[in-house]
């Protein structure tokens, strides 16, 4: 079991970092969240969450290349660490275990 629990938004952002791989930076994550699950999130909230995850050692960051679209500013690219992957996996599995315990409604002939 991981030592620390993740908040719902933290887990979401961590997952997005995993999904986006080499293109995981603040703005991309905001847009990805909007496209995938149709949820509007705040850029500053995402940034703060990313730094917090970095503090916890679940992701790491380095400066990437600059593009004209960013006025020459470099991107801070986040990548998921092994610890981050482990946390995600543990969380997913514990959810699945719990999910299985919910009595399933059966349709059809009874």
């Amino acid at each position: 079991m991981p030592k620390e629990y993740l908040g719902e938004f933290e887990e979401l952002v961590l997952t997005m970092v995993g999904i986006l791989k080499d293109e995981a930076y603040g703005n991309a994550i905001v847009n990805e969240i909007r496209e995938r699950i149709g949820r509007d999130s705040n850029l500053s909230a995402v940034h703060v969450t990313l730094y917090r995850l970095e503090d916890k050692g679940l992701i790491k960051s380095q400066m990437g290349g600059s593009t004209n679209a960013r006025g020459g500013r470099r991107k801070r690219i986040f990548t998921i660490t092994n610890a981050g992957m482990a946390t995600l996996r543990v969380m997913k599995e514990s959810r699945m275990d719990l999910w299985k315990l919910i009595p399933q409604l059966k349709f059809g002939s009874a």
Binding site: N27, V30, S44, H47, R70
Partner: protein
Amino acid sequence: MLNDDLAGAALRILSWVCPATLYEGIEGDIIEQYYIDCRQVGANRAGRRLWWRVFTFFRPGILLRNKFSINVIQADMLKNFLTVAWRSLLRNRAYSTVNIVGLTLGLSVAIILLMIVRFEYSFDGYHSGASRLYQIKSHDKFGEDGSHVPQGAIKALREQVPEVESVATVYGWTPRVIRVGNESVKPDAGAFIHPEFLKMIDVHWINGSVAQSLAQPFQVVLDEPTAKKLFHGDDPIGKVIRYDNQLDLTVSGIIAKLPVQSEFQFGMFMSYETLVKYQDDYQREDYWDGGDSWFHGYVMLKPGANAKVVEAKFNDLLRTHKDVSQYVRFDLLPITETHFDPDTDTFNYVIPKWMLTVLMSIAGFLVLIASINFVNLATAQALVRSKEIGIRKVMGGSRFSIVIQFFTETAVMVSLSVCLACGFASLLLPYADHFFNTQVNFGKVWDAATVSYLAGLVGIVTILAGFYPALILSGFKPVSIFRNQGSVLSGTKISLRKSLVIVQFTIAQVMIICMVIGIQQIRFFMKTDLGFTRENILTVAMPYRDSVLLQERFKQQLLQHPEIKQVAFGLASPASDRNHWWGGTKHPGILNGEETFRLQWIDPEYLSLYNVPLLAGRNFIPADTSQLALINEKAAHEMGFKNVEDALGEKLIYWGSNTVTVIGVIRDYHSQGLKSTVPPHLYIYGKWNFQQAQIKIEPGKTADALLHTSQVWSALHPDYFFEYSILSDQLDKFYTDEQKLSNFIMVFAIVGIAIGCMGLFALVSFVCARRSKEISIRKVLGASMANLMTLLSKDFIVLVIVAFVIGVPIGWYVMNKFLEQYPNHIDVKWSVFLFSGALTLGLALFTVSLRSLSTARINPASQLKQE
């Protein structure tokens, strides 16, 4: 880059608060989203969204990340800044000296001033119940404010107003002598009080208590120094002291001396019951009429009670007694305000609030002048420092860090000055107390509040003095510094320096104008003929209600000495700041039938001793009775007589029942000093109230006359102290406030102009150093000394003249306002301005020439040989 300035501004703001390591990534994201928004919703809405997005970054998760990463760097740099600050301080000794001396001078005065102002504001604020304690102010039917509160009012307040916790009379009354056994002692101030009063103010009881020590008649509570003085260390409790040779009082308690910031500087508190036994007048508990202005009333409200409500109830009570009272209104004045209100007739002294405001603003101006020196010298030095700044920038120093560097340097100098100034201030404080007539040094001076004030002062002066240099110096572009040194200082910066010099000298100029006019006004007060002789007159306090026979013997024995020319008796000298007796006086000719006249008791020789002429009628003769009276011109006019002769034979009634007939009218004289107008006077020949002997002496024989008088005194009044004063000294005491203020302004004007001149000197030195080659070349080409001096001095002298032109109307306006409050004042003459201007200009010229002269005399060869 963003083409939108507003968006750029938002990002700049963000860059100040955002940790540098994170900033690039955040900024990039914001810009990227901005461009996307621009395409999708247009530039306007995109801009708004950008602002909002920037705004949302002001959150703890971002802001709190700052501290950690930045502090580590700053601590290291700070050490470097301090080293550099110290080195540059040592390298530029002349500039540093001017800066530090100027600042120290200004700050010492500012610190002393703060202490004085704080001291004055602290009066009676230390009592635990101060916020509920009020002095009662009375307002009489003639429109005068006063401090007397009749005992009927005190009683009514105590018994009929439920919001009142306690109420007490304090009757300041200092006896002429105290006897302990066979020893006569000069007494301290004393007061008759209701015992509750020592509960209302904070008192530390060493022996005794409120309940037991003052409830009975003939009890007295002493403060420690008085007890020591009277009993020389013996236990005073239960011992008897003889008060004014009339009353035997038993010592029933000892309290610690009250702090100096209290109005109640009494060494003896006598029980109110004693007063009732001592003087029959006070047995009437339902008395609501007028009386002695030192018969004060103090009231303590219950917690949470509203003073306005109590005031209203009190005045309702007063209205039920309006037929027998001379008062029409009572006000409750918070105890902390009594120190500023001249109508309260406090037992200590009163200082007007505006004077404290003036002092504070002067302190501010002095600090400003000193800070301007700092700014000017720093910008003048900019050239020298520009290379250092260039190097720092090239090596990666940010503008912010250079700003911090210069603030650090300023802070180092300011802290140094503040430390020195504290030393000076504490050394000078006793002298300042003496010079300004204050008692700050006896109060608490160095405490937490002072320290925090000093810290605040360091902060403010650092920002004031360091802001501009830091901004200018940090703005230098390294490229232009290294390419071409000369162009770093552009024209605008020099004109700022000029305008700052103008500001400095305008302030100094205004202060000098105020000083000159203030001194003239004081001199006018002291030298103007008050309408009676004031030189060579000695006044001696007589025992209260002395025997007429003793008085006559005293007079006859004095006159046997050739130095003593004349002796007269009266209540008091024609003008003194104490012992004014007043009485409601009735006459059909007076508007509304009654007015307050000032009462004076005199004998037949009084007027001739003081050379006060009679305008009509006759003087008293020894055979006259107290049914006859003299009045002054003003009184005759108030009674409706244009021609003073017509007032003769008129009947006046004073104090309700005493009828007198006017037998003469004398010329008006300034009985209240020149700060007030002349009141109507009534003179009565009543021997019972002669409290003072007036002795005219041979000029130049004061010492002999005093010796003889004191000998005669001790022979006739062995039980009393010989208390005398010289009339002219006494009269000057009217103007203590003005004297104080004028002393203040004089010191400040001198300090102000001194700091200004120091700055000027440093600036001239700077210019001389910069232009030494130019001067040398001019000299070689044949310029005369006069040419060179003009060249170097002209610019500065022009500034001083401009300051004069600005300063004159300000000084004129301020001083006109100041003089308007006095009915008798000097006219402001143009010569004052010319004199002040010439003084400032002369000092500036002297300062400038100190330096320009040596530069002009320099040997050109020594300057030019290196080229």
